[in-house]
Amino acid sequence: MSIDVGVTLFSMTNEWLAGQYTLPSLIDEVGRRKLGPGVELIGFQSLRGFPNQVSADDIRDLRSALERNELHLSALASNADVARHKSQWMDADQSVEYMRPQIAFASELGVPVVRIQIGLTPEVLEKLEPIAAQYRVKLGMEIHAPEGANTPKVMATREVYERIDSEFLGFIPDFSATMRAIPPGMLAKLRRGGLSEAGISALDTAWRANGPPFQRYSDFAEQSRELGEPELPVAQARLIFTMFGRESLEDWRELFPRTVHIHAKYYDIDDMGESPSIDYRSLMRVFSELDRPVSMSSEWEGHAFLDLEEQDAFEMVAQHQAMCRRFLAAS
């Protein structure tokens, strides 16, 4: 098996937001349930004061929690936040300076990979590469819905990567890019919000259509107005067009030479041990072709529509890891 299965703490977002855990106690639970050994975290989720003002006590507690559970950090997710100011978006130099302390933080903790986001332009990437090399941290651009391995934005990045040809610039395929259906749980949420069956059908049709996400969403929103759908579920459905992508999963192979980590995104696992919205059998077949060990985080995002009381995230991760191992073994 060329994939090292681990977990991102993002999977436990419900438990985290409810205040049920501190970072060390969350890591203890991951260790107790044997969901590692690789653990990924999102700086702006798990760490107060990230990236410049994390307290020395918090860093020490994080290190000792990992150590006592025999876990290690596989990746640290950074954010680009280009629109943090509403009207003055970051320019290239501001983006570089926003990323620098996040990369430095990963280096301090010995994290091999920093997840970067697709919003970073070729110019920013060129300026970040020497920083990543200085800190000995690989930057992995997450290829997340609505992008895919060969959509125009990603092709532009691939060209920059080819030109710079650095081991510190890579990709993190995220399976949200290659989905086969809108997760049933998300549709249930919109139904509870008042979206009619005609609205659901219009949504599915728009989601499966071709064209840029905002255009497809606009088409759906216009149809919803004609159908008299309530405003809130229609507004909430906007996310569907950016969260769930329909690119071909076979195309992930194009990124293999520069794949530095994997986000095994999922929402649901049915009684047959399959994921209705994401074709894991095929994904594991494709990714088993990797010619070297690559870390993969089990990334459950069902908390986008399921509450804490409805699903235990730790259990979901355990089921998902078992599913991945089963399909990998069969590949």
Partner: protein, 132 residues
């Protein structure tokens, strides 16, 4: 529900000498700068307060949403509540039950959904609370 489910808790509404303070939790999975909170409308006991009537308490100041805009380096940590303030002369007695509603608009600064357009997450929630 989900992220929305966590915005209000049973102890979110507190009566003050000037009106109410409302503790709200972030409707996103990670911390965001205060500059990303675009607006919040509130309804208490069937009285609606527009975003123009709502203030955000931060570092001892009561700020309008317009005043939050430049605060790109001030963080709303994802596990912490943020306190909103509304001024009103008539308030319910402490201990009484009422319906509290909040309608939040939060810009997600890294999800770009169109030319110069970032995702603005709308979250509208209501729950029965006990006035503190």
């Amino acid at each position: 529900m989900t992220l929305e489910a966590k915005i209000l808790r049973d102890d979110s509404l507190r009566r003050t000498s000037e009106g109410y303070e409302i503790a709200v939790h972030l409707a996103w999975y990670r911390s965001l700068p205060l500059s990303c909170l675009e607006s919040a409308a509130i309804e208490v006991a069937a009285t609606r307060f527009t975003p123009e009537q709502v203030r955000v308490l931060h570092n001892g100041k009561a700020l309008s949403f317009q005043e939050l805009e430049p605060l790109v380096d001030e963080w709303w940590f994802v596990q912490d509540p943020l306190t909103l303030q509304i001024l009103t002369e008539t308030t319910l007695e402490a201990g009484s039950r009422t319906t509290l509603s909040v309608d939040l608009a939060t810009r997600v600064p890294y999800i770009v959904i169109g030319p110069n357009m970032a995702l603005v997450q709308r979250s509208a929630v209501s729950r029965e609370v006990t006035v503190r």
